[in-house]
């Protein structure tokens, strides 16, 4: 989001047609063989001749002023080739730009990649070293002397909002408040989203429920730590190999931060070992470039796992209040929320996305949402799969569950009664086009999962999720080889290996050639026009629009070749079933020509065949999903076991259905991790205590069951094949669905995340005390 829709943005209307390739499940997936043999090259697998190894010195303090940095001893260590700190990077003015689903401010980006006046979190980079070995680079870090003035810090979002809280930024006055506040505070911005008349809505309500929720930050937990290699030449050219979700955006940020021309920076995206929004931001890249420049050698930098946790963006920790009202018949009349999102050390959380999408699942007349973006002494937050949405769905979807129970209604029926549909006015602006939310609810209701009997301490929960799909700048090239095979060069990042094959299927469908005759590959920043990041579920949805556009241009060129050969006008040639044919009998009796035949003659008739797309895609179609989960609560340990899980989501059109199922399953399991285990734990000094996979517990294979999936297909009207983004919705419902299931199982409502054994045990104990007390009262 973050930018207004362009009137020049591309929409290609949906056309229903018989499909030959799209919707099949190819076994010759483009990336898979290299990934199962260990050949696939990720950033840390790349080695350049003469490369040095780079390391980062990080702040041990949550908040401190930097009095001085002395690198002289480190520089003198044999084998050290360069040391950089704040003095090696130009300061930046305030300037905002989109970076994935979140906005960045270059004044903060430069400070986050390398501290200037102060450090604002445990793990904040203070200096970096390049040396002939990793061991020497690590030794050099210990020789850098940093004098800190340690200052009071604040970790929790509610604490940070108090008037007496330590203020991170003396120049930060809450935006969105009129008049401008007199004093600076940690509240960077206040935002609102409103529809109808909220007071009238509550007056009409017969049941009103108001609850407060708190969530801890969770990390994307990609298994590949950040890694980059930079090669800065004496000619002033920088090449950077890196694991990124958007190499063009990284190029732009590197160029801006280092005051270089865009044309002198080339970013080559490597295979990506997971991102989930966490690889939308530069961390190592500018450091590696400057170290390379200073040392006249290529520099490779790879984060350790603890650096990933301490210094790359997790999600916001949040404090959320939800108040909703409905009639006894189950019609929601009012929906209100206050969202307090911590952004970490610098302003700019996922709050704008949460604020505008919090209630979008329901057809509502009266909505009021107020949100605050709050700075705290934690790493700057990054996007994480539907950024901001799971924590707010935790509140809304559990309040909806409570309302359904109060009304004596089934939670799915309650949702059906209020479901968003075509024509629903959202509180964030547009009216919805055709969407598949109702279908996901109906399919959930009919699913055999609901017939499964539940035992003692077992319960069932339902929740739904919504996420939009980004469009944005997208470019691609289709080259037709002299033998009639096709190569698509795409500029989005294929973050999980699915879009590469989806694009291949789409090009094959368009050209009318077999999938095996299309190869798709990623192009670096010099190969194509600008591509926005793979973020906001846009990878396949937007990338395929460019693939279609480029294919159609290649087809136009092939029709031109046929026309030249047949000596007719280009508009007298049509493309059908992979062949150029005369448009009608009156054109002449010409034998249709295949791609291979046309490719062979292309040179004579004007040159080789290619099609380019440089478009700004309007949008990728909103997505909705409904999840049903069964849990069993262990009353002795407080452990929650997931027994059964079913996920139903609208994909618009499933290009590669089995892969979509895989994304659904992966998103659901990430959501299960968020719900039950994952959290950032800081000590009283503001130091992260669990920066590793042993103590930051992501789900393992034995934690989860098989995840049942069903795909609903309500075509996106603005996409030629009806595709919607699908990547993010699956992570939204698990947290509330599991909370609802725990309540169904043992009667406790958990509103503090994560719902880990100690919290479950405490709630069970509190409930027992409460039950005993009320029984005692009844007995009197």
């Amino acid at each position: 989001m973050g930018r207004a829709p362009s009137p020049f943005a591309t929409k290609i209307p949906y056309e229903e047609k018989d499909l030959k390739v799209i919707g099949s499940n190819p076994t010759a997936r483009g990336d898979a063989v290299d990934k199962v043999t260990g050949r696939a090259r990720y950033a840390s697998d790349i080695k350049l001749p003469g490369q040095l190894m780079g390391r980062v010195l990080r702040s041990p303090h949550a908040r401190a002023n930097i009095i001085s940095i002395d690198v002289s001893e480190a520089e003198a260590l044999p084998g050290v080739k360069a040391v950089v700190c704040r003095d090696d990077f130009p300061d930046m003015e305030v300037e905002h730009a989109a970076s994935g689903e979140l906005m960045v401010n270059f004044r903060d980006v430069t400070r986050n990649m390398m501290a200037r006046e102060n450090v604002l979190y445990d793990g904040h980079p203070v200096a970096a070293v390049a040396a002939i070995s990793d061991a020497i680079a690590k030794r050099a870090l210990k020789l850098i002397k940093v004098e800190y003035e340690v200052l009071p810090h604040v970790i929790d979002v509610r604490d940070a909002m108090r008037p007496d809280a330590p203020v991170l930024h003396e120049d930060q006055f809450t935006k969105g408040v009129d008049p401008k506040p007199e004093k600076p505070s940690n509240i960077a911005a206040r935002m609102e989203s409103k529809l109808g008349d909220i007071e009238k809505g509550f007056e009409e309500a017969e049941i009103i429920i108001e609850r407060e929720y708190n969530t801890k930050p969770v990390h994307q937990g990609y298994i590949e730590p950040q890694a980059s290699i930079a090669n800065y030449t004496e000619g002033g050219i920088a090449e950077v190999w890196t694991g990124t979700q958007g190499h063009f955006v990284f190029r732009a940020q590197i160029a801006k931060l280092l005051k270089m021309d865009l044309s002198k920076v080339k970013v080559i995206p490597t295979e990506l070992g997971g991102g989930f929004g966490g690889k939308n931001n530069v961390y190592l890249e500018p450091l590696a470039v400057v170290l390379s420049k200073k040392s006249n050698r290529p520099v490779k930098m790879v984060m350790d796992r603890d650096e990933v946790f301490r210094a790359t963006g997790p999600t916001s920790g949040t404090n959320v209040r939800v108040k909703m009202g409905c009639t006894k018949e189950g019609r929601i009349t009012a929906a209100q929320a206050e969202l307090n999102y911590q952004s970490g050390a610098y302003a700019g959380s996922s709050l704008p996305l949460a604020t505008i999408t919090v209630f979008t699942r329901y057809d509502l007349e009266n909505v009021s949402v107020v949100g605050h973006d709050v700075t705290t002494n934690r790493p700057k937050v990054a996007a994480y799969r539907a950024p901001g949405a799971p924590m707010v769905a935790f509140g809304v979807e559990t309040v909806v569950d409570e309302m359904a129970r109060e009304c004596g209604m089934d939670p799915i029926d309650f949702r059906l009664k209020n479901a968003a549909k075509e024509g629903t006015q959202t509180h964030f602006g547009p009216k919805l086009g055709p969407v598949g939310y109702i279908q996901t609810l109906e399919r959930a209701k009919a699913h055999p999962h609901l017939q499964e009997k539940l035992g003692p301490d077992q319960g069932r929960g339902v929740a739904s999720g919504f996420w939009f799909t980004l469009g944005a700048e997208t470019s691609a090239t289709v080259n037709i080889g002299e033998d009639g095979t096709a190569t698509l060069i795409f500029g989005t990042v294929d973050v999980t290996g699915g879009s590469r094959s989806a694009f291949g299927m789409i090009v094959a469908e368009e050209l009318g050639i077999p999938f095996e005759k299309v190869r798709t590959m990623s192009g670096d920043t010099s190969a194509l026009g600008f591509n926005f990041m793979t973020a906001g579920s846009r990878g396949t949805a937007a990338g395929s629009m460019a693939a279609v556009t480029a294919s159609r241009k290649a087809i136009a060129r092939m029709c031109e070749i046929a026309a030249r050969k047949w000596e007719v006008e280009p508009d007298q040639v049509v493309w059908e079933d992979g062949r150029a044919r005369p448009a009608g009998a009156n054109v002449g009796d010409f034998e249709p020509m295949t791609v291979a035949e046309l490719a062979k003659e292309a040179a004579w008739f004007g040159g080789s065949i290619a099609g380019h797309a440089e478009i700004n895609v309007a949008q990728g179609g909103p997505g909705f999903g409904t999840h049903v989960v069964d849990v069993e609560v262990d009353r002795r340990t407080g452990g929650v076991k997931i027994l059964r899980y079913t996920l139903i989501q609208d994909a618009g059109k499933a290009v590669y259905p089995e892969f979509i199922e895989g994304q659904f399953q992966g998103g659901a399991v990430q959501g299960i991790g968020t719900a039950l285990n994952e959290e950032y734990i800081y000590n009283d000094k503001g130091v992260l205590e669990n920066p590793g996979f042993l103590d930051y517990r992501v789900p393992v294979a034995s934690d989860v069951p098989f995840i049942n999936t069903e795909i609903v297909e309500v075509p996106n009207p603005d996409h030629p094949y009806g595709i919607r983004g699908i990547g993010e919705v699956p992570i939204i419902p698990p947290l509330p669905a599991i909370a609802n299931a725990i309540h169904d199982a043992v009667g406790i409502r958990l509103r503090d995340h994560p719902m880990s054994p100690p919290k479950v045990l405490k709630a069970l104990k509190d409930k027992m005390v409460e039950d005993l007390a009320s029984r005692g009262t009844a007995a009197e």
Binding site: D45, G662, G692
Partner: protein
Amino acid sequence: MAKQYVNTTINGDNHELLCDPTQTLLDVLRDQLDMTGTKEGCGTGDCGACSVTMDGVLVCSCLVMGVEANGKKVETIEGMADGDDLHPLQQKFIEHIALQCGICTPGLLVASKALLEENPDPTEEEIRYWLAGNLCRCTGYHKIIEAVQDAAREMRGA
């Protein structure tokens, strides 16, 4: 510290190496031998991305020192396929879409192979517990378990 002589067999090939005693087997594989198929996800034995076998025993190569490989037989992902013929597990991982980003895949394949060598007919639960040391953040494990089950069936000739 002086480097030590190490004589080890990796995927059937003999290697004579000089290893720094502080170097892990993972570092030796990736940095010294350029065998980058084995991945590093954590360096602390928590994620399983660096799984290899040493004398048939499944280990995290980040927790084994390079010098410990002296006189041992190490098997890595690079040795799993037989020329152009993928191992049934590799084939089934592709067919079942048991991989997305692929960073955990080499470790999962090595670990699954070790499982099937010990237990050719594992239950779903046995597979899930055996692979509990191999983190995957993309797939939710569903298709990985299916792929291992299917490969086990095929390898048993069932």
